[in-house]
Symmetry: D2
Subunit: 375 residues, 4 copies
């Protein structure tokens, strides 16, 4: 009989739903060496929490996160809370010997992130960070193509994460308060595309060459009250990668027209790749080894058995949605805990710390108006 | 406490998975007046069946379909078996007073379809047919736009369902045997686009004006054996609609390049609509009420609260996948059984019979080389 | 010194402009064995004609078409007048020993077309028909790819020519009067896509299997007057091709949203092609010989030296416009008259008669509600 | 009778062809207050020059540029030579009282550009710079939409000019030699998109906040010889605009997959615009004043009478090509010289100097690793 993997999950908002869905669905679509079991959900509001546990099939619920993450029955602690409380829970869980899966970005501050990575290095548990877009089949395919040498030496990476919900009519919320949110578009969105650039190219970002941090809407209202927005609305930066490529990154909440424009373009000596999450089932590929008269961007509808994760789902030609990348990651987390290999590389805390360092370098560059090496 | 809706499902293949997923997911995303309960799954192979029931959370499993559909505890019979056995099970279930949800097309023959509709007319249970594409948010939005008068009088409907898995290298399977499958691309694919045309326009198809039925690959091999393929590979037909529009339909399994090209274009006096299931989260709309210099096709990313079903899912900008339309339909089935209204019209057996009559008229037209009225 | 090719052109409206432009531009971009000389332009309105000749660089102008086409100095008669007067001028020119280039469709009636083809067969001059879209580089590339065997046996051809200027607000004009215009969308638009299907596939259309001819707007007004529109607004038909493919054709002036939607899709055993004149510099190609995980539609930006005609123009990546296909055709006409070969096959009167026979068969099919063989 | 505008043109390569074409075509499509006359072409190679003059219809040709630009019969001097010789010819022509149209960028160095602008300020002639993309109808439409307030306050400008002909296999040419070419992708491509950003937004760029200048291929071969490439292959920079927007610019010759990817995206408070020269007849527009359920990117096929310049060409729905923007600009130059107004603003030397200052600031920023104000 398959052994259980007992999970305690922290958080019951957007990510709480996405993770709950992943744990409840993963066994329907993948053969697993361990049976994930939704043991305990933790959140702050007791009434909402009970309903959440009922709706999503968690056996237990509690407001006492520390009890949950140290509960001897728990194998995996899954953290979907705001960034500023990642570190405390993750470190406690690691010290209790648990495996830990943490939402991205790794932490709200570079200090927290470093502490988490240090704790992970000294703990028996495995760590995982929910950079879920890696497990969109088209993105995983991009990684594989680059790794196979399909595009050769990389010259350019151009990544943007464009959203548009942060206009002047959007009221004050905690997301615009720096003390709670840590940062704005930068931590939320640039985290994803920095991870994507690192993942797809297999190269590290070695320096930030210039950056802009901008808060377009400096004050926001909430009912009668007006207060200062203390996070960035947009951060843009230029960077260099270890193999010699130059790169640009842009995250913004005021790119009218884009709802979830998580886009990346990569140009190499022998080809190029292009992805846009708004058409998440497609990867555009350009290959110079085609005859000159037949070269062009090929749009791959990444739904067949040769596309990572796709075989687990529906027949060829039936696209996936947003949440499937979480379910694919849940599969890889379970397999990794059981000693197997993820289909494509999974970021652990050490890996996610590297992304955080790039974000930190970008902020310093923007504020000090100078290039900053990424250590 | 919410009352249960006890479900017996017939079938454990592709549609068995899709329906099981719908029943297991619907309560996670929608508030429901009844709690769908996966009571019993029915299929022919006992060993596979047990594993299927375990994997998908069905309490019971049996190879005795009649016992299941007449079980007094069952409220809803959900039929996902091959077309040629829809009628017997559906009629038995209706006679036992059950609600019945049946996969499309309604039946393998027009006679079966008529018998099913007649049984439904005389039974207390409600009937539903899984023309699931109606509940893709972009398609439901298309229906609403037409109903609102956005495009005015309709002139043209142009629908194609293009797949490409039926080339000469595909071995003989039951799907190519007319006695089992009933028909080829016609019943499988034209059924969907005839339903889509009727649903989105709100108009009936009144005549078929000409048709082609074609079997490109007349023989197929299976190991050492070669035998005749006795179903159509493609059926094309021209039709007229009740409001005066002209329409064309094409279904094929040999449209190299398309994996799931379920596409429809509708042109009216004041605008036009365009949908392609390969980009299922998008609806293209053209409106003549824009200034002449600003007219064009608008690509709506149908993921916000004003798009049918989308509010139940993820935040704006997070697309859905193939299976979500089934889950949306499961919501509407549950709500309808509880006496409520589906978000957009749901086909019952009488409605699906009308689609079947169009398909039948097309076949007669192709074989007798003449126009055929749809009664 | 290069010999001159003296041209007399009939017509000074839309096609008169397009042809004048072609003759004035061809020498700027192509090396030619003969120097096209704009000798004489013929039209009915003497005042407008003088201005037209001045603007477009015609040495002479006259209202006497017969004098022009029989003038011993003239080598090539270029006919850009309405369809109903093609035959008289073309036959007179052929009898006078001239080469003749005629606008499409070949004639307003099948009888005229047959007479023209007969005259051409018995005359020393060469004939050319301005099916200009053949010489759009992307379309010529499509022809070459099919001829090279790139897509193998052809299963499907799906061609539409969609315009939208014929709505109920469009006033009565000669184009809606059958006695003058001959036909509506059918002769104007289906002529192009029937030619395109024949050209790209290299196959003849052998039968029309069913058709619809429709006049949506039966009456139109012009100032105070209302009169009957006596041409088709749309004609759709289904056909079979000599190699076994099935095909559909649709021409309409009421496809709201499309301005010049001259589109064709061709599916073969080993690949597929897709073209849309609204993006005339692009050809989409799908090849099954790519690895399964990398298959997809490749969008070729047909502007490099390996694309027919493109080398004559601008550097790679600089697209062409509508009129360039005429200029490319002018090049091939000049080269052909000098005894050379066009870059891709050029339709003469015999070839264009075959297109006309397909159009005629479609009309008979629509009116007599039966399949019609194309002789 | 219409007065002549006598033109002397310098240059007979790519731009010589494009300008010759513009002068020979402009009178065919536009009503003009002056008749442009192709009087004299100037270039260095006497043999090629005679053939060029013959082919393109220049009455005279000479290798003596100074004689040509000071010839009393000449009204307009049109400069299409390499950047490093713009200044001498332009200043001489201005001093001789001529109007001057100069290719972009204004000059090879900021000093030259300043001298040219100073000369223009003190001369009676009018000056024009061939930033031809302003007169692509879709780009001119973008300018008009922004000027009308359609997108409100601007937050983001994101411009890239991506080409791919500069890979390691491309041999050494003068374009890779800094002493001749001045710069690489920066002067050639960033010049265009900086102009586009300024033109469409109507805002100046006030600072460069960070930049990268990169030469990926440091050595190139020509036959047996290998020598250093001394120009940039790519320049990226971040900037701020006068109205508070943040902007990014990127020019490269190694963006595999793009042939002429002159792209710009602009996001404002009430809408957004998107243009890609590889689909030059299209402008994508997003408006927040549409109903929330119907918002999306609208693709305008910019070929109707409400689109700048389009009415002069073909009927609605017939796209233009690369050279048409030059012809449109030729129209505006002639009209301006005659005292009229261009359809959209035309850059003179003072305006083009401002673009050059931005380019210069970007280079300083890249080399000195600091923000640089644009004066």
């Amino acid at each position: 009989m398959t052994n259980r993997l007992n999970i305690a999950m922290l958080g019951s908002k957007f990510m709480g739903r996405a993770h709950s869905n992943a744990w409840s669905q993963v066994g329907h679509f993948f053969e697993l060496p361990l049976l994930p079991h939704q043991d305990t959900v933790v959140a702050r509001n007791p009434e909402e929490l009970a309903a959440f546990a009922e709706q999503w099939g968690w056996d237990n619920h509690t407001t006492d996160w520390r009890a949950a993450v140290t509960n001897p029955l728990i194998d995996l602690v899954d953290i979907g809370t705001p960034n500023n409380v990642h570190a405390e829970a993750a470190i406690a869980a690691l010290e209790a010997g648990k495996h830990v899966a943490c939402e991205k970005p790794l932490a709200g501050t570079i200090e927290d992130a470093e502490a988490m990575a240090a704790a992970a290095a000294n703990a028996p548990g495995k760590t995982f960070v929910w950079f879920n877009y890696r497990r969109v089949p088209a993105v995983a395919l991009a990684h594989r193509l680059v790794a196979s040498g399909a595009i050769g030496r990389i010259y350019h990476v151009r990544a943007t994460y464009l959203q548009s919900w942060g206009g002047p009519d959007t009221p004050m919320r905690w997301r615009f308060q720096g003390d709670i949110a840590g940062s704005g578009a930068h931590g939320d969105l640039n985290a994803h595309i920095v991870d994507a650039a690192r993942f797809i190219t297999g190269e590290e970002i070695v320096s930030v060459e210039g950056a802009i941090e901008e808060t377009f809407i400096s004050e926001r209202t909430d009912g009668d009250q007006t207060s200062a927005s203390t996070v960035d609305d947009a951060v843009l930066f230029l960077a260099r990668m270890q193999g010699g490529a130059v790169a640009s990154f842009e995250a913004t909440r005021l790119a009218t027209g884009y709802l979830n424009g998580n886009r990346i373009e990569i140009h190499g000596e022998r080809g190029a790749l292009r992805f846009n999450f708004e058409r998440m089932n497609e990867l555009d590929v350009y290959r110079t080894d085609a005859a000159r008269g037949e070269r062009g961007w090929t749009t791959i509808f990444a739904t067949n058995e040769d596309h990572p994760y796709a075989a687990a789902w529906w027949p060829t030609g039936h696209g996936l949605g947003y949440e499937h990348a979480f379910i694919n990651q849940a599969r890889d987390i379970v397999v990794s805990i059981a000693g197997g290999e993820p289909l494509v590389p999974m970021p652990d805390f050490a890996d996610a710390l590297q992304t955080q360092r790039v974000l930190e370098a970008a902020l310093i560059s923007a504020r000090e108006h100078r290039p900053v090496a990424v250590t």
